[in-house]
Amino acid sequence: MGFGRYVTARVLWAGVVSLVITTITFLLLSAAPNPDVQQAATQAALQGGNPAEATERVRELRGLDQPLYVRYFDFIRGVYTLDWGWSESRSQPVLEAVGSALYYTAQYSIPWTILTIILGPLVGVYSAANMYSWKDHAATGFAFFGYAIPNFFFGIILLLVFGVWLQFIPVTYNTDVAVFSVENAVQLTIPVFVLVTGSIGAVMRVSRNESAEFQNADFMKTAKAKGVSPLRAYAYHVMRPTLVPLSTTLVGQLLALFLGSSLLVEVVFAIPGLGRLTYKALIAQDTNLVLGTTLFFTFVAVVGNLLEDIVFTVLDPRISYDDR
């Protein structure tokens, strides 16, 4: 199978996967009781109104009085025409909501991802090269600390120290500042630091163990015997094979962290990003928005896996498209 056909097949499969995931999410949401309806009824009762009327009013407003299949087909049609509907909980189109949230999330997630991908394997290989020395222990300790401490807790502590006490950074995130500005870099330093320390641990440990395997391999011995510098030997002969198994865990781990970590960090630092958007959409049972964000994450996951498979073949030419 050629590269083009392989990618095409994977993309088509991605379409099916996204449809299945979206359908399941839609069905689960439809089966759950709607808190807005409950709340409206309670509110009406407390205000001396009629809960039944209030319930009916909210159901009509939210379109919940329509049959399930009508709501489902409406949504599916919308998905493929890029009309992702109106977010009831934010009073704006879903695409606009996802777009604006992504704008803020990207500002910290891109540096976070790049730093994790670069620093994780580097620290891991460095640790393996100095195995059982104090440098290895220090790096391992750092990795475990970052992995063990909950991001929200670490975030609040750093905010307290650097925001409230030392006042180096603003306590609340300011959406006014330009993306590429010193102010933005300053206010994003702590969120990025918290996220990097949270995600670097696993990457570092895996790459340390993987590279330990290769540093005594025959090809390393040959390289050393030929007089290759340690930096070059580790970069070409250890780092590269280490990255092959690492790339399988990397994408999955980062995606898993993406939603959970970014939600808590966004809450602590008041960043209006994707994590908060998704979480609040779920809580408010804003069906259009939940499905929009689900679709977005599905898309990211599918593309991520696709990239991962392509990276495989680039890093290790022995892996081919055949037999897949």
């Binding site: 205000q47 809960p51 039944a52 009327e53 009013r57 009073s91 409230v164 300011n174 602590v268 609040k280």
Partner: protein, 659 residues
């Protein structure tokens, strides 16, 4: 587990923040040795917190308060920007559909409503003045000189009349004010005047907030009204972005960034600047060039922002107020509220699950419970003294609060303690057909077993849990009742214990008139036969009609006591068939007549007479075991003038300023 850990951590950090020494006024950018040492000390504290893990959870405040603050950015000063912090983002800023308090504050920066009430609870006309002679026909006089943005021109009576008739009273629009205008006949009587005729007189109509309107241009509404386009009306950008507001609010909305907040700039043409009847301070209002509402969901972050000056105000949980009281940068206001803390006792058949009958149905027993709980101890221990004792269904600041000597004050002074509580319980036992009594210290049922009751509180609400524990302890010590404290999710309690959708309904004819009431919906109350002709989920019928789960007592829900318009309380106490009566309370006095008397009153004196008598009776009967009115505690940056320790706090927000 994770959630509780999270709350613990947040509470801990919030405590760390609040306990910071703030006595010096150093340059915030300069790091002195003390600050570094403090930072180092924190690392130790964090380790300890992780090891000991003995936190009791946190939260404290309700987290939903909207408070004030200012941006401490480099280019601006406090006088330039007036920012507020909101714990929650806004669903919509469309004035026709908004039902949220926080979004209401965001809209209010840009768009005034018809009227407000000042610190003396006096009516203050803003967009229009209301007057009546009999409480039935109300005249609205629209202020002249109110302007919408181009191209909509001046605000006139027809804009309001059109809004009421074509939107609020329509069957298609489902506006937030739909229920407020049902049954009201509205007629335009002049360019700046219209009349509203009520179905029955109501002297306190303005106090109910029902006649409160936003000004919306008729021309903007017309296309949607013609098409009956609900979706279009909800999603209209001019409404969502408040672009039509003209000179009708203190600020102009520049941007609404969902999840981040709103930004405004000063409205130089604000109409209140030229209004003579308001205090002079409004002549230059507003006093800030810009305004902002920042959405900061995390309480610790909000308090941090308050401390650093990024916001000027934030709600402060009661347990942290003390640490701010000596601050030179922040002052704390204590604002009385009408929302109560009480024990709901289940008088229906699925209540009192510890023996035959239901002792909660006997007034002396409810009085005994009220007398067994030390209200002042509760306020001191649980609310840190930031609450008022609650004896009847009104807070003390209500003008309809009965004279102290006319109401029994259970739970304080000589009306508190084991002796008085047991005496009242004995009275209840004598009324009961079952052989309840005391065996030594314990209250026992006819089988001689100790009375065992459960009390529910919302899971994760620490104040509620503390309160429930305190109640359990007091009822155990003073009445010998073994109380089990149970945590429950609020929504689950509401759906399975508090309300039900499964109840019998009367038969009706085509006109909707009731033709036959089933036997389950009939009960004898005070010797008279009463029919539940309109059962609801919150009062599904007589005491034999119950929710799906058994329960004895609950502190899950507090209720509003409506001090401005106490007639609204008829929803709770207007006889056994009252609209909202989950506990199955049957008044032992003629509550219906008193509400009718209040409704028909033609003078304030008649109204007060009826209401005072009503509240004296409710204090006697204790339909819910009334405990406390917790205050709202809010911290403001020093120098901010305007906030008052009054229920009307914020009525003059455009005139708030720094000294």
């Amino acid at each position: 587990m994770i959630v509780s850990l999270k709350f613990f951590v947040y509470a801990f950090v919030a405590w760390c923040m609040s306990s910071r020494d703030m006595e010096d006024g150093d340059d915030p950018r300069h790091v002195n040795r003390r600050q570094w040492l403090s930072a180092l000390g924190l690392a130790g504290a964090v380790t300890l917190a992780g090891c000991s893990g003995n936190g009791g959870g946190g939260g404290g405040g309700d987290g939903n308060d909207t408070d004030d603050g200012s941006d401490g950015g480099d280019a601006t000063t406090q006088q330039d920007v007036y920012a507020t912090a909101s714990a929650a983002s806004f669903t919509t800023l469309n004035p026709i559909y908004n039902t949220e308090n926080g979004a209401g504050n965001a809209i209010a920066r840009t768009l005034d409503q018809g009227y407000t009430f000042d610190e003396n609870n006096e009516y203050v006309p803003l967009l229009y003045d209301m007057s009546t002679e009999d409480g039935e026909v109300w005249t609205f006089e629209v202020r002249e000189g109110l302007e919408f943005s181009d191209p909509y021109g001046e605000v006139t009576a027809s804009d309001f009349v059109y809004l009421i008739q074509e939107v609020h009273q329509s069957s298609w629009a489902n506006s937030a004010a739909t229920t407020s205008w049902q049954g009201v006949t509205v007629e335009e009587t002049g360019e700046y005047e219209f009349e509203a005729t009520l179905e029955s007189p109501s002297l306190l109509w303005p106090e109910s907030y029902d006649p409160l309107l936003y000004p919306i241009p008729q021309e903007l509404l017309e296309p949607y009204v013609e098409e009956e386009d609900t979706e279009g009306l909800q999603e209209d950008e001019e409404l969502l972005e408040l672009q039509f507001a003209g000179n009708l609010g203190p600020y102009v909305l520049d941007e609404w960034q969902r999840d981040a907040g709103t930004r405004y700039s000063r409205n130089d043409d604000y109409y209140l600047q030229d209004v003579d009847e308001l205090p002079d301070v409004f002549n230059d209002a507003p006093y800030f060039e810009e305004a902002e509402i920042r959405v900061i969901e995390e309480e610790a972050s909000r308090l941090g922002a308050l401390e650093t000056g990024e916001v000027d105000s934030a709600a402060i949980p009661p347990e942290q107020v003390e640490s701010y009281q000596n601050s030179e940068e922040i002052y704390v206001n204590r604002i009385p509220q009408p929302y109560n803390e009480k024990i709901s006792v289940n008088m229906r058949d699925n209540g009192w699950n510890t023996g035959p009958g239901n002792m909660f149905r006997h007034t002396p027993f409810r009085q005994a419970m009220a007398a067994a709980i030390d209200k002042e101890g509760l306020i001191q221990g649980v609310f840190r003294d930031f609450a008022e004792t609650h004896f009847t269904w009104q807070p003390r600041f209500s003008e309809f609060y009965p004279p102290e000597e006319e109401i029994p004050q259970f739970g304080v002074g000589e009306n508190y303690g084991s002796e008085v509580a047991r005496g009242l319980a004995e009275e209840a036992f004598a009324e009961s057909e079952y052989d309840y009594g005391f065996d030594g210290d314990a209250m026992v049922n006819p089988d001689g077993d100790q009375i065992q009751l459960d009390i529910y509180h919302s899971a994760g609400q620490d104040t509620e849990q503390l309160m429930a524990d305190f109640i359990a302890q007091e009822l155990g010590e003073n009445l010998g009742i073994d109380v089990t404290v149970e945590a429950i999710d609020g929504t689950r309690f509401n759906n399975e214990y508090w309300t039900t959708s499964d109840f019998p309904t009367p038969e009706t004819n085509d006109e909707g008139e009731v033709t036959e009431v089933p036997d389950e919906l009939v009960d004898t109350v005070n010797g008279e036969e009463v029919e539940w002709t309109a059962p609801t989920s919150t009062n599904p019928g007589p005491r034999n009609v119950t929710t799906s789960q058994d329960w004895d007592m609950s502190v899950v829900f507090g209720l509003n006591t409506y001090p401005r318009n106490p007639i609204t309380n008829n929803a709770f106490f207007d006889g056994p068939t009252a609209f909202y009566n989950p506990v199955g309370y049957y008044p032992g006095f003629d509550a219906e007549s008193l509400f009718e008397q209040a409704q028909a009153a033609t003078s304030q004196e008649e109204l007060a007479d009826a209401l005072v008598e009503l509240f004296a009776n409710l204090a006697e009967e204790q339909p819910y075991i009334m405990l406390a009115f917790p205050d709202s505690t809010v911290g403001y940056r020093e120098g901010l003038e305007g906030p008052i320790e009054n229920f009307s706090n914020g009525w003059n927000l455009p005139a708030w300023r720094y000294e």
